[in-house]
Subunit: 213 residues, 2 copies
Amino acid sequence: MNIRLRHEAIVRILRRSGTSTVNDLAREVGASGRTVLRDIVALRDQGFVIHSESGRGGGLLLDPQSVQTTARLSMTEVFALIISVAAMRAARSLPFSDLADAGLAKIERALSADKVRDLRRLLDCLYVGQLSPEQDISDLGLIDQALLPAFETTFLQRLHLRFRYRDAKGAETIRTVEPQALLILPPLWYLVAWDAARDDFRQLAVEMILSAP
Amino acid sequence: MNIRLRHEAIVRILRRSGTSTVNDLAREVGASGRTVLRDIVALRDQGFVIHSESGRGGGLLLDPQSVQTTARLSMTEVFALIISVAAMRAARSLPFSDLADAGLAKIERALSADKVRDLRRLLDCLYVGQLSPEQDISDLGLIDQALLPAFETTFLQRLHLRFRYRDAKGAETIRTVEPQALLILPPLWYLVAWDAARDDFRQLAVEMILSAP
DNA sequence: TGAATCGATGCCAAATTTTGTCACCAAATG
DNA sequence: CATTTGGTGACAAAATTTGGCATCGATTCA
C-alpha cells in the first residue's frame, strides 16, 4: 500500500464518516495505529485541518472548510505569491527545494482546483535568478504592480501584448509580442517574448515598457 | 527529496522546457539518471504521455494533451465507473486495495478538475457490500440506468427526490427524501435517505421506487 | 562505417524511509 | 478509578528507494 494512496484514503474516509477513531482508520486502511497517526501529522502539514478529541466517543474530525476551499485570493495576489515561492526556491543553492515546494502546496490548497492549473502555468513562465544569502525576497525589485494583471492574462491565454518600448539605443518602438516567460534577475526584470514582426525571441527589460501605444 | 515532489517537479520542468534529456532532469532535480527514468515510468503509469527520442538532440517530451485533459465522459458513465471501482475495492477482502485506487486515479486523470470533485463526492455517497471471490462485478445487479442521472443530481446538489414507493407491507406511499448514500448489497440496492416527513433516516429498496408521483 | 548520444531495462548492494511495537503521557468519559 | 482515545519517543525490522553498472536499441553525425 502506497503512502500517497493511503493519505488520500484517509482523507476520503474522514470526509464521509464524520468523526472516526485512529484505530478505525488503521483497520480500514490496513496499517497500524501508529502509522495512521503519522499520516495525520503529514496531512496536517499539508494544510488539512483535522480536529481531535480524546476519551470515549472521541476521534478525528476533518474540518470540511479545509477541503472545499474556494479562491479567496485574486490571481494577481497569487502571482505575487508565486514570485515569492520561486524566489525562495532560487534563494537556496539546491537544484530543487523541498521547503519552497511545501509552501507552494499550501498555497495551492487554498485555491480552487481550476486556479491551481493557472498557477502552475504561471509558475512555469517564471524564472528567478540567484539571490545571495544576504538578500531578502523584498530585494527582488518588484516592478509596477499595474503590469502584473496584463502579464497574467497574456501568459494564461497566450495573448499578444502591445506596448511602447525604449530599446537599448534609446529608440522608441511599438512592439507586439507573445510573452513566453518572465525572467527576474534582481533587481532587473525581463520579459522573454516572441516578437512576430522581427520573427525572433527578444528579452525586453520590463522597466523599459512605457505604456500602451 | 520527496518522491511526490520530485514527480511534480519533473512534470513541471517537462512542461516548460519542451524537450529535455534524462540527465538534464536528473541534475535539475538532484537525483540520478536511473532514478529519473524510474520516475518517468511511474508518471507514464499515472497517465502522462511522455514521448521520447533517442540519439543526439533527443530527449523526453511531455504531451500537453495528456495534461490539460477535458471530460469526455458524461457523469452518468463516470457514475457507472465509480460503482465498478467501489465494487472492485469491496471485492477484495483487503481493507483497501491498491489496484482499485490506481484505476480510480486513471479515471480521475481523464476528467477535468471540476469533475473530479463531483466524482469524489459521489464516491463518498457510495457503499458497496462484500462480493464473494467468485462473483463478478456484473453480478452487482445494476439497477435501471434511468435512475442514475436522478441520483447523481440529488447527491451532488443535495436536492430532494420525490417518488412513489412501495414499502415492506406493500403499501404505496409518496416520499420526499434527501438522499444521503447509495448502499449496494448485491443484488439489492438501497437508497439511504433522510425522510423529512418522518423525521428519520430510511433505507429504501431501489427496486421499490416506482416512478415520479 | 564507427563513434557518440540518448532512452530503456535488469541487477544488486547500499542508503533511506517506512512501519510496527512497546512504553508512556494527557485528556476525557462513565 | 478503569477505560478509551489522541499524541510522542525510541528502536529494530521490513520495505522501498536509490545509484552504479552493464547492456541493448535507436539515432545522429562525421
